[in-house]
Amino acid sequence: MAETREETRIRRRRTGAATAALTALVAVLAAVPWFTSDYGLALMVNVMSYLVLTIAWALFSGTTRLISLATSAFFGVGMYAVAMLIKVMPLYATFAVAIGVGAALALIVGVLTLRISGMFFVIFSFGLSEMIRELMVWWEINQTHTMGRYVYVAFDTTMIYEHLLALAVLVFFVGWLLRRSRFGLGLMVIGDDETVARQVGINVPFAKVTIFIVSAMFMTLTGALMASRFGFINPNFAFNPLVSFTVVIMAILGGLQRLWGPVLGIIPLIILSEELQTQFPFWYSVLLGLVFMVIVYFLPRGLTGLLEEGWEALRRPLELPRGLTGPLLDAWAWLSRPIELPRGIAGAIEDRWVKIMPRMPGKR
């Protein structure tokens, strides 16, 4: 159906307005380091890194509906790539290497496990970070004889923040493109029904592995950027399975129906996590576990789901209180009913007769 000139004009104006608003938002976010305290900036870096991780996770898992628990594996690989190579090459070169390693790892894992069944992939991704952690511990103990590494780089928090922001813009752009492309549509068909996807001619393994690699590259780069944030890293810290699950829970809390849905989940969960860690350091693990369970049980559709339900409720026609005229109208309706007279003896005989002589079916 061809667009009329009027529609084209409206569409262009809308796109223009949206682009302007988003540009303004990014500009405000980019200016944040010059307005907040150190603590605020640290919190924002945390938020931004989880933002990239969660949206990157949603690129793969939101479309194909396969729960990937490999986030911490890629995150840790990125961190370690920087930590191990920073002494022999410039910082941006280490970032490039990190992306390359992450992509290669995603390719191997994806080709081996994604072509078979969803469950194999989920289980493999669950153990992947734990396995890499074990290998790293073994490597560090036997080859380098140290358990941790210091990452000293001239790359301060503001720089990390700006880079993460740029990465966040990029990941959103990729997600936006994905929702408007044949490829993204194909992925959603895979998520809905893989058999159908194969029948309509989508190259299912290729599509899955490709988007898995794209998502992994974002995660690895986030890890690489965050390496200098912590200064000192060891395998147990870099490959923490909690990161994978936190990302999933954030995405679920936010809701996967919209591209921006996960954003709603990140901020409350980070603030809650900070609060729990400072207020109840010993109970942190127990309370965080309970929070996870509450979200899975009571908010399976996430905050965007709640918003959508709320919007639906708002759009329903209002039921106004009926006021004084209501009872009057009811009374009038009652008064104007036809009067039911007692049916008398003739009526009683008629009722008996009906019972004694049942009507023949089909005859009147």
């Binding site: 509906r65 729960i67 628990l69 081996l112 496990t113 078979i116 969803g118 469950m119 194999f120 989920v122 289980i123 493999f124 669950f126 153990g127 992947l128 734990e130 396995m131 074990e134 290998l135 511990v137 073994w138 103990i141 036997n142 399975p241 699950f245 999933v248 829970i249 679920i252 010993f282 109970w283 942190y284 693990s285 127990v286 309370l287 965080l288 576990g289 309970l290 929070v291 996870f292 369970m293 899975v296 049980y297 399976p300």
Partner: protein, 289 residues
């Protein structure tokens, strides 16, 4: 230490893995729930055995008379109150697996955090039957041999129940096709709860056995969960014999690895085996391609 001793040591470890994996398979293959908190029950049972032994000097094997029924009941309650809502809500098997993974991960954190609070994160160890035992000229620790014997006893009991009783036939039907099972009059919900609780009871046995010869702390659970997952996938979901063979295979591979390379790489061995099976036999060791 000769190569044969290494392999026999692997068989002992493998018997334990098989027991852990069979319990996991009851939960995953029959009740269709991926229970990431599975290993935490192993850890809890190990601590129960430890405290009973150190405080009241109760023999760990006798202590199982207490810890196994309690774990059975606890797991039944978990199924009844935590898993049933998810089972009702899920439309497909994949959805149920995904949701149970997330919910039981929360449970994992609660249980591990609780154990750390209650028992501290220290490594624990107690000496029970740590005497050398000479069999056919080879030397083993008596507690490890006992662990293998107990694993054999429980494995055989499970096999008998599954293959020689009506009840076991119903359980196997449940593993193959839950909808079909319901159509022929099997109480799917009730039986799933029983299978889940039975798996939990088995992991309590395994936890008690583990505590007799390994040091443990509140964080050991997840490693056993991962190995159980790998073994169950390798042997085939719902296939108990497959779990047994894959468990033994994993035990032997681990023993060889720790003898020739490094003892810190056990999980890497498990995943290497997993990958080889995926490449060579993508439907599991005994699956039909």
């Amino acid at each position: 230490m000769s190569a044969i001793e290494v392999i026999l040591g692997g068989v002992i470890l493998g018997g334990l893995y098989a027991l852990v994996a069979i319990g996991f398979n009851l939960q995953f293959g029959m009740a269709r729930i991926v229970n990431l908190a599975y290993g935490e029950f192993l850890m809890t049972a190990a601590f129960a055995a430890f405290w009973m032994f150190t405080l009241f000097s109760i023999n760990p094997i006798a202590g199982m008379l207490f810890s196994v029924p309690v774990t059975f009941a606890a797991n039944w309650l978990v199924y009844r109150f935590l898993m049933t809502p998810l089972v009702r809500r899920a439309r497909t098997r994949e959805q149920l697996e995904g949701e149970t993974i997330l919910a039981t991960f929360g449970l994992l954190f609660v249980l591990r955090g609780g154990a750390t609070l209650a028992f501290s994160a220290n490594n624990r160890y107690y000496d029970y039957l740590g005497v050398p035992l000479h069999i056919f000229g080879f030397t083993f620790a008596a507690n490890r041999v006992l662990a293998l014997a107990m694993a054999c006893v429980f494995g055989a009991a499970i096999w008998l129940v599954l293959n020689r009783t009506r009840f076991g036939a119903a359980l196997r039907a449940l593993a193959i096709d839950p909808v079909g099972a319901e159509l022929v009059g099997i109480d799917v919900r009730g039986l799933s709860g029983f299978a889940f609780a039975g798996g939990g009871a088995l992991v309590a046995v395994a936890g008690t056995l583990v505590s007799t010869f390994l040091t443990f702390n509140p964080a050991i659970g997840i490693e056993f969960t991962m190995k159980a997952l790998v073994v169950v996938i390798m042997g085939g979901i719902g296939n108990m014999g497959g779990s047994l063979v894959a468990g033994l295979l994993l035990g032997i591979a681990e023993a060889l690895c720790s003898y020739f390379v490094d003892s810190g790489l056990t999980l890497a061995v498990a995943y290497a085996l997993f990958l080889i099976v995926l490449v060579v036999r993508p439907r599991g060791l005994f699956g039909t391609p």
